[in-house]
């Protein structure tokens, strides 16, 4: 075998191999491409364990939130846990976006992932409150329904009930705001700021505990 043939062989065998491996280097092996965006959002029915702040959406503890009941509204579903460090990073941003877009008809819900509600309540107190209600997810059934593989993950559901976008990791508030703006603009009739199906602000019944 002469040098020319050896060179050609290296080019034809090594070239594609190097190309393939370099393509692999551009991909994150930990990320799982979600098939959910564009499809109907998995519906859930979950119990409130932390009510949320006045002024945005406040639901009594023990109330059941059904996603299907919020059809016609843009819904932001955030999966979080008290043991999750990245959730601390996004908490202020997410609450700020909720305060800004809540009055425009966007519903925010936090779903607790693999954690005790008591830990969640403590965490919310530590973080200085949360602008939206937090819901339990026993057995992580809703999380699996959403194809969750880590926290935080945030899903934006449009007025028709299909998943518009999935955020993996801490939410980037600018990106989320722009997405909510475009969804509200695309379907302004459905984004009724004062919903008829559930009062926006509800007071806690005295001594209500789950």
């Amino acid at each position: 075998m002469n040098w020319k043939r050896a060179g050609l062989l290296t080019l034809f065998v090594g070239g594609p191999l190097i190309a393939l491996l370099s393509y692999g280097m551009t991909r994150d092996p930990r990320s799982i491409p979600s098939p959910l965006p564009g499809r109907d959002a998995p519906v859930f029915s979950r119990v409130v364990f932390a009510p949320g702040n006045d002024g945005v959406l406040r639901l009594p503890v023990g109330d059941t939130v059904r996603l299907a009941a919020h059809r016609g509204h843009v819904v932001v579903v955030n999966f979080w846990a008290s043991w999750c460090l990245a959730c601390r990073d996004e908490h202020q941003d997410l609450s700020a976006v909720a305060r800004q877009y809540g009055p425009r008809g966007v519903r925010f819900f936090g779903l607790l992932y693999n954690d005790q509600p008591d830990n969640g309540i403590q965490w919310i107190a530590q973080m200085g409150g949360q602008a939206y209600p937090a819901l339990e997810d026993p057995g992580a059934r809703a999380a699996i329904d959403y194809g969750l593989y880590g926290v935080p993950e945030t899903f934006v559901v449009d007025q028709r009930g299909s998943v518009a976008h999935k955020f993996v990791g801490p939410v980037r508030p600018g990106e989320l705001g722009a997405l909510l703006d475009s969804l509200l603009k695309a379907n302004p009739a459905a984004s009724n700021p004062l919903p008829s199906d559930a009062p926006l602000v509800r007071t806690l019944p005295s001594g209500s505990k789950p």
Binding site: I32, P33, S34, P35, L36, R39, P42, N114, G139, A140, R141, A143, I144, D145, Y146, G147, L148, Y149, G150
Partner: protein, 187 residues
């Protein structure tokens, strides 16, 4: 010389066998995976034990499904093998769905709808995934053929004028070869 040639040919054949068997070992895993998949498709997992209780059947079916689903929070592990909390929750969900009368295919469809094809430890043999199943076979055939041709070329007696002078001089010494050989220019 002929004797030495025969010996070399035998060594070459042995080498081919070794290389071929190494190649086969490399591809054997994917081939057995493919075959076991075909078997798994053709025979229902229920027929594991002769007369087991309903729970045993359900457990066996759930286990078979769980061991073919990838754990999302682990590295290349099935939810059956993983000790992670999410894996345990997914396992119980598999068991529940099987118990509620869903077929294996329906459970796989459920998880594929949530996590995509990523969740399947064995890719479905369709579309681009077929490469995973057939490329090893193609490599085996092409590689084996290449090696066979190369070995044939190495063992073929070379025309003497192309041999280096030392070898040619040596070859001249044996009468059987020198009979039809052109005398090298160095002599």
């Amino acid at each position: 010389m002929m004797h030495r040639m025969r010996e070399f040919r035998a060594t070459a054949t042995r080498m081919t066998v070794i290389v071929a068997s190494v190649l086969t070992m490399c591809t054997a895993e994917s081939v057995t995976a493919f075959v076991s998949k075909l078997e798994a498709q053709s025979t229902p997992a229920v027929s594991v034990a002769p007369l087991p209780g309903v729970d045993t059947i359900l457990d066996a079916r759930a286990k078979a499904v769980a061991s073919r689903l990838r754990c999302p929070v682990c590295q290349g592990e099935s939810i059956q093998d993983s000790p992670a909390e999410l894996a345990a929750q997914m396992k119980s969900l598999v068991r529940e769905q099987i118990a509620s009368g869903r077929s294996e295919a329906q459970v796989f469809d459920y998880f594929t709808a949530k996590y995509g094809q990523w969740i399947l430890l064995e890719p479905k043999p369709e579309g681009i995934n077929l490469l995973v199943y057939w490329l090893p076979v193609v490599f085996l055939v092409v590689g084996g053929g290449g090696i066979a041709i190369a070995v044939k070329r190495w063992t073929r007696p070379k025309p003497l004028d192309t041999l280096p002078t030392g070898v040619a001089a040596n070859a001249v010494a044996t009468p059987s070869v020198s009979a039809n050989a052109v005398s090298p220019p160095s002599l």
